[in-house]
Symmetry: C2
Subunit: 430 residues, 2 copies
């Protein structure tokens, strides 16, 4: 980090000593998990850069943006409709923490028995190591789980109500919540949304999502051109980067991956079993279970999570010709997200089984953040659905700390052997 950034961070109230510890922790992990891989696409350098920039250049960009009168909001969930904020001239800054380092600092306010994502997010704020703390005009939470919902209350955040069922009346409630969000961001920026401004942002977000779809579709190949760890990093920084900068980087990566497919270049030295990762998100900084799985000899070829397919699967319908129509289209796109917050959540099971088939997976690893009751209880529904299709499954419940890495491997390696034995048996039978 350059000297300039140190001054910048200090001016934002960041505790530099603690911040140095945080960055050292995160950088060391990133080297160990991502950089140490031997067959990475060259374009991944752009995403490594974006990872480091999240506490450097990106901060400087946002400071500059705000100096020129721009407004910004902190967000914590992929239910917050970015295109509406952007169309009103408000920059959404996703603030979900993925680093283990600040977790203990959350104890000031929160119980220890809640998920590491919430604890990491607020641990950053309470340890004064989050450069974005002062770079937002409002914070927008949502009601997707008990711990987050109550955290927003405690901290006096705005809260968007994500309904808990998917009936017509829930869709109407959600459309109204999206309208309330629109008013909130318009008041913040003093700019009214127009059909044109919203359509522009819808197209940009759709472009971003399509690129993620295309990149991930290449993982269906027999020789996946990108590792699970790197595909995760791409999704993670999709949230953190400037949209246009991300689109450029993703297009470059996509080009390189297509070449790799043509040249049969794999991201892996050895072809381990193909695994789908399903469950909770892994925000930027957390790639622990992905690392544990891939360093145990399996290849993650698909991600069913908020930092995976849940983020890019659905596009906004661009055809409505009125602002109200387009607002409904935006609302409806987000309402299709198959979060475990919905009761029931059959769509998720359907999506997951479709992905298992499309990506030719040998098994599924359910990746559940500790104390996430939603995904942890729903894991049983997933397990039952996979059993019916005879797809082996392993559920991993853990936090961000690397302390239990070897314990995870003790479970992951036999799982790999089960998958290998099963694939070998079916190969012999053919």
């Amino acid at each position: 980090m350059s000297g300039n950034h140190r001054e910048l961070l200090q001016s934002l109230g960041v505790n530099l000593d603690l911040h140095d510890q945080l960055i050292a922790h995160n950088t060391k992990l990133h080297e160990r998990t991502h950089v140490a891989q031997t067959c990475r696409p060259k374009a991944m350098g752009l995403f490594d850069e974006a990872f480091h920039a999240s506490h450097g250049n990106r901060v400087a960009e946002i400071v500059e943006y705000r100096r020129n009168g721009g407004k910004s909001i902190g967000t914590f969930c992929i239910f917050v409709p970015d295109e509406i904020a952007l169309a009103a001239g408000v920059l959404p800054i996703p603030l979900c923490g993925g680093s283990h380092w600040p977790v203990d600092y959350a104890d000031k306010m929160f119980p220890r028995e809640i998920c590491p994502l919430v604890r990491s997010t607020f641990g950053m704020a309470f340890s004064n190591t989050c450069p974005y703390k002062k770079l937002k005009d409002a914070a927008v939470g949502e009601t997707t789980c008990d711990a987050k919902k109550k955290a927003w209350d405690l901290l006096g955040f705005n809260v968007m109500e994500v309904p808990q069922k998917k009936n017509e009346r829930d869709r109407d409630l959600w459309r109204a919540e999206v309208r309330a969000f629109r008013e909130m961001v318009e008041q913040l920026s003093g700019k009214r949304l127009t059909l044109d401004s919203l359509r522009l942002e819808v197209r940009r977000q759709n472009r971003k999502r399509m690129l993620l779809q295309e990149i991930n579709a290449l993982r269906t190949a027999t020789e996946p051109p990108i590792s699970g760890l790197d595909a995760l990093l791409v999704s993670q920084v999709a949230l953190a980067m400037d949209v246009d900068a991300f689109i450029r980087a993703a297009a470059e990566l996509l080009g390189e991956l297509r070449e790799r497919i043509e040249d049969d270049i794999s991201a892996y030295e050895t072809p381990g079993p193909r695994v789908l990762m399903a469950g909770t998100p892994s925000p930027l900084g957390n790639a622990k279970v992905h690392y544990a799985v891939e360093s145990s000899g399996m290849r993650i070829v698909a991600d069913e999570s908020c930092t995976g397919s849940r983020y890019y699967r659905d596009l906004v319908d661009e055809t409505p010709v009125t602002l109200e129509g387009l607002l409904d289209a935006v609302a409806d796109r987000y309402f299709r997200i198959d979060c475990s917050c919905f009761s029931p959540n059959h769509e998720r099971i359907e999506h997951l089984l479709d992905m298992a088939e499309l990506y030719h997976v040998d098994g599924v690893v359910q990746n559940i953040l500790s104390f996430c009751h939603g995904y942890n209880v729903e894991a049983k529904v997933v397990e039952q659905a996979l059993q019916k299709r005879d797809i082996p499954m392993l559920k991993v419940v853990t936090d961000y700390s690397f302390e239990d890495l070897e314990q995870l491997r003790v479970r992951l390696e036999p799982f790999r052997e089960i998958l290998q034995a099963k694939t070998g048996a079916s190969a012999r039978a053919e």
Copy 2:
């Protein structure tokens, strides 16, 4: 339990050996916590009976009711509007488990890191010790917390959507959910609700709630005529007993308590500090923290929980003259419940502070079931509100097991001393 009941239970698929263990466990605890008290009102005998009857006579009553064509539903939350079910000829049977004994049996389906209430409820079902398992035509869950919501999905229950905010659109959603519940119970019984049938049940439920209000109001007295343990038992069996039988028993108890007030008869041998219990419910069978608090020399004079004021505070407006109007009045009464599922939940803090004043409490014990994120995170909001009023607070997070009783006392006894020192100091200052 008589021989008759053994045959009855066996016919309901109950595993008699395990059921004997469960009953022995629950009875021993009840003797230790409730019966061992030295200054109990005589009428508490009626509620002890109701406690034992929940696995005996009450089961026989419901079997008889169903033999005569009656329908019944299992319920798990005070948001399910009993009066609507009853007016349609459907008996609601509250099934929340309060016993520690079956907790481990829930592991078949559920993670261990969820609240003991869910684990106890399904532990009973999975160990075949719940006599009500076969005595219901449907099960009706709700969306008040992540673990319960996902448990209903997993088990294929009906789910009423309790909204997460209290805006007008949420009230409308809830009114629609109440209408859907009405249709469900009407279909079950084949009976249509009428204004008269609903009004009758509204009045009966209001009568029950008013009796609970009157009984609890007497606890504001300098010498509370009923202990916290016994007041809890009254609330607990209010859910389990036949409504009319409960009304008769509660009226008898109320009469005796009024005489005690006149005669200055306390439920306590020694006048310890006055405590308000706030937080999660204690379903029938669980009185652990109440016991820990009172056996540590404090007097519980008020309960802010679903097995306390949340259950009886609000009455249904009986004045509407149309069925639709009365249905709205029922819905609106339930919508006033100040569950931690709502964001924000300012009403709860107001109610809690009002109670602290009305009941002249010296301190508050927050009683939080393990892994209940809603009340556990909201506990910080409660703490902050109490600090402003200079009301001492202790938060206890625990499950149903008595294993940590001494650990709880190690924290409760110094808390009692703090309250005594504070009361002594203010008495000297006067």
